[in-house]
């Protein structure tokens, strides 16, 4: 399987992941208060810490996305995206298991955006995980500028 992880397959995966994460970060960066509320709705963090999460996570998404597209620290950015997606899946699953119906806060943080959590959001995150694993286990490094080789 891993022998297919090269050339355009990896480049397309990098572009999709990078684009998605940059797009997802912009709304959150422009409205940190709304994103903090969205994070708080999941009730996974101890009280008060959702604000710290709301300050850092969008920038992490943006920087990881830019790194993937530009070709800088692709491995680190991919690991970051894998960790974030695993956390997202756990957060959504526990909310669903507890019967909480909330907005995802994944792309739009505006209230009533209509993007509620559900099986579709979990599957979407698994899709990103697959793309991230393709990038992480890539067989050749194309259009990567730092580091040239690990």
């Amino acid at each position: 399987m891993r022998r297919y992880f090269k050339g355009p397959v990896v480049l397309v995966a990098r572009l999709i992941l990078g684009g998605v994460f940059i797009y997802a970060s912009l709304g959150k960066i422009s409205d940190p208060a709304a994103f903090a509320t969205a994070v708080g709705n999941y009730h996974v963090l101890p009280f008060g810490l959702e604000n710290l999460m709301a300050m850092v996570l969008p920038w992490l998404e943006l920087i990881a996305g830019v790194c993937l597209i530009v070709g800088i620290m692709v491995d680190g950015a991919t690991i970051m995206i894998i960790i974030m997606n695993i956390i997202f899946v756990i957060a959504i699953t526990q909310a669903l298991a507890r019967g909480i119906s909330i907005e995802c806060g994944c792309f739009s943080v505006a209230p009533e955006s209509g993007d509620n959590i559900g099986l579709q959001t979990i599957l979407r995150d698994f899709g990103y995980l697959v793309l991230a694993f393709i990038v992480f286990y890539r067989q050749e490094k194309q259009l990567e500028f730092f580091p040239k080789s690990v």
Partner: protein, 159 residues
Amino acid sequence: MNIRSPIGQTVFLLFLSCIIGFSSNLFTSNSIPWIAPELTLVEAIDTTTDEAVLVAISLEQAKTFFDDGVLFVDARDEGYYESGHIQGAMRKSFLPKLIFNIEDRQGKDVPLVVYCGDPGCGDSEQLAYDLKDSGFTKLYVFKGGWVEWSGAAYPSQVD
């Protein structure tokens, strides 16, 4: 830290995000506090307002609600509930079931007091936010919880 290694890169990106995130929050016009404020105790309770309420209340205010027959919900785990709880308090259960049980007794716009063990436990506040997300509009968090209530020897029961 070797920035050429994948783990080194990950740590670097995390560090960079923290620096940019925290400093941008200092300079942006719509900055947020570092730590989200907790619910604060209210001086006076206005039960006539039509607006949604989610506030913390004191022991005395909780006792007043109790005397007025307001429903209490115990946010602690089963074992704690069974070893002693506020008289007539409803036990916590899976959220949809709890909502069903509450709606069986009263509407979503009727005052409701949520409590847990002591002022340090977050379960009551967490449950109150869950109920708020589920459409309940008159939520009062008795932060003193079971410790203050039983300490004052107010009516309680064991199941």
